[in-house]
């Protein structure tokens, strides 16, 4: 019998470029805000789960949780460090959830903090320069950048459903409009379809303003058992479902950095994420119609059109109509990324999935100043990471 788990507190450092602040400092700031938000202090934190970054900190071994406690609170607690690339925050959440649901701990903190390198992300040290390494082949054989993978999906969508360039641009316009009211977002100036389409073409049909850049940022959550749920005096937020998953054999998605797909009929596109979403919904005893808010990884405008369809919110190809008719707006049928999404934040890889759950927490409490979804009761997150990692969390009031 598992125990109910609740989100007690959330905190995030604003996203941006912070050349004068270390990754550790961003992490400590976000954690301090989350602990304060939960009405707790460090001695009450019984465990820390951190998403491991490969870019900075963690003593070179991904020991980001250990680094934090050694800096601010040496108190013998278990530190767990999890990998999962851009989905690491969701895996950290899942791990902390399990520590409490199992009854082993009552209060566990979740952390994701990242400072991203400039320009192209370098290949990891020790990589093989031969056909065993897809990340080598995609560069030497064809120079396939990440946007190229997403653009290939977007062009196929144009072919299959008649998606227009203006509709793709509209997805970016919506994200910027949502971000305008979110003090944590990096890009808060509203934009227009014309401005998006006038930005440089990166990888046809995707323009610069339709692709998320990289940012620095940090986010933290405090999860707790029933006995702590009233501590902060804030509206309780419950974990209704959470799940992580990996890819299915035969997935037709273009998976970075591979240079081919072995496709089988009836296997979901981006199966690592759709599987996580289905598992989280099953755990919550809910269906797509129960979800008021979807915070999803919008690496590009294409993702905003395709992902809700893949999750079963509506039929394949309907996303264009939903977007163009305001159904995905704050106040629409399904508010997609009221935060402004990755397109307005820039991706701080391992921190991103933790930020998604922070945003859902604030929305469900009615604390999302400037971008509040009216009467939000249930929110879902969805994220994808390298290695075919997917994660999803469902919160409810």
């Amino acid at each position: 019998m598992t125990k109910p788990v609740h989100v007690l507190g959330a905190g995030a450092h604003p996203w941006g470029k912070w050349p004068n602040r270390s990754q550790l400092q961003l992490a400590i700031d976000a954690l301090a805000m989350a602990i304060d938000d939960a009405g707790l202090s460090w001695p009450e934190i019984q465990g820390l789960v951190a998403a491991s970054s490969r870019f900075e900190g963690g003593m070179g071994w991904g020991l980001h949780a250990n680094e934090v406690v050694q800096a601010v609170a040496e108190q013998g607690i278990p530190c767990v460090n999890v990998g999962g690339a851009c989905a690491a925050g969701a895996i950290a959440f899942q791990t902390a959830y399990s520590m409490i649901a199992s009854g082993q701990c009552d209060v566990v903190a979740v952390l994701g903090a990242e400072r991203m390198p400039k320009g192209f992300i370098p290949r990891p040290p020790g990589s093989q320069d031969d056909i065993t390494d897809s990340d080598y082949l995609r560069w030497v054989a064809m120079g396939a950048t990440n946007p190229a993978y997403w653009a290939i999906e977007a062009n196929r969508r144009k072919h299959d459903f008649g998606t227009t360039d203006a509709t793709l641009a509209q997805a970016s316009v919506l994200m910027r409009r949502n971000a305008a009211g979110n003090r944590l977002a990096r890009f808060r100036n509203p934009t227009t379809i014309d401005e998006v389409l006038a930005s440089p073409m990166v990888s046809d049909p995707l323009h610069l303003l339709e692709i998320c850049p990289v940012s620095d940022g940090a986010a933290a959550l405090i999860l707790g058992s029933e006995q702590y749920v009233q501590r902060s005096g804030k509206r309780p937020v419950h974990v209704a479902g959470c799940a992580i998953a990996t890819g299915q054999f035969g997935d037709p998605g273009r998976r970075i950095p591979t240079i081919s797909s072995t496709v089988r009929d009836d296997v979901s596109h981006t199966s690592e994420v759709t599987t996580a979403v289905q598992r989280a919904l099953a755990m919550a005893g809910m269906g797509p119609n129960d979800i008021d808010i979807l915070e999803m990884a919008d690496n590009t405008a294409w993702h905003l059109l395709a992902w809700p369809e893949l999750f079963g919110f509506y039929e394949a190809g309907q996303g264009d109509w939903m977007l163009n008719n305001g159904k995905l707006d704050i106040g629409g049928d399904l508010a997609v990324n009221p935060s402004g999404g990755f397109l307005s934040f820039g991706e701080a890889t391992t921190a991103q999935a933790v930020l998604q759950v922070c945003e859902l927490t604030w929305q469900l409490r009615g604390e999302a100043q400037g971008h509040q979804v009216p009467d939000a009761r249930v929110g879902m997150s969805a994220v994808l990471g390298l290695g075919a990692n997917g994660g999803s969390v469902i919160l409810k009031t």
Binding site: Y136, T145, H159, S203
Partner: protein, 142 residues
């Protein structure tokens, strides 16, 4: 003298250019590039053999790379080029550069065949080559 961008990726023989892949004989699945295992969880025996893959296919989707990739990708006289996702049949879709077709004439569904593309040539005349897909003109008249 032509040097492939990676050993074991493609073969050039009398018939032209062919990609080197792996076929799982147990579940009849094709993989590219060569793989050390069969990823099908329902496949038990996972008997693998090296195969030369079909050299013709159809364009499933594509993009045009408008800015220069990192230095690992070397190309003389760089200019935007097309990248395709090509359906080789039997459930296998392969990415590769598209060649010999104007960027505004690329169309999903077009018939393609494998070819070689020279990326760089040094002062000794030694060139680095990769595989690429070009329009399959035999198909147009068929």
């Amino acid at each position: 003298m032509q040097i492939p961008v990676a050993e074991g990726l493609f073969a050039v023989n009398g018939a032209g250019v062919q990609l080197i892949g792996t076929r799982c004989c147990s579940c009849d699945t094709l993989y590219f590039p060569q793989t050390p295992g069969c990823r099908n969880p329902l496949c038990r025996d996972k008997q693998l053999e090296q195969v030369l893959l079909p050299d013709r296919g159809t364009l499933y989707s594509y993009t045009v790379q408008r800015y220069q990739p990192p230095a690992l990708f070397a190309m003389d006289a760089w200019s935007p080029y097309a990248l395709g996702l090509v359906d080789l049949g039997h459930g296998l879709r392969v990415m590769g550069m598209l060649d010999d077709v104007p960027l505004d004439k690329i169309a999903i569904g077009m018939a393609l065949k494998l070819s070689l593309r020279t990326l760089t040539t040094d002062e000794n005349g030694q060139s680095r080559v990769t595989y690429a897909f070009v329009p399959d003109t035999t198909k147009d008249h068929a």
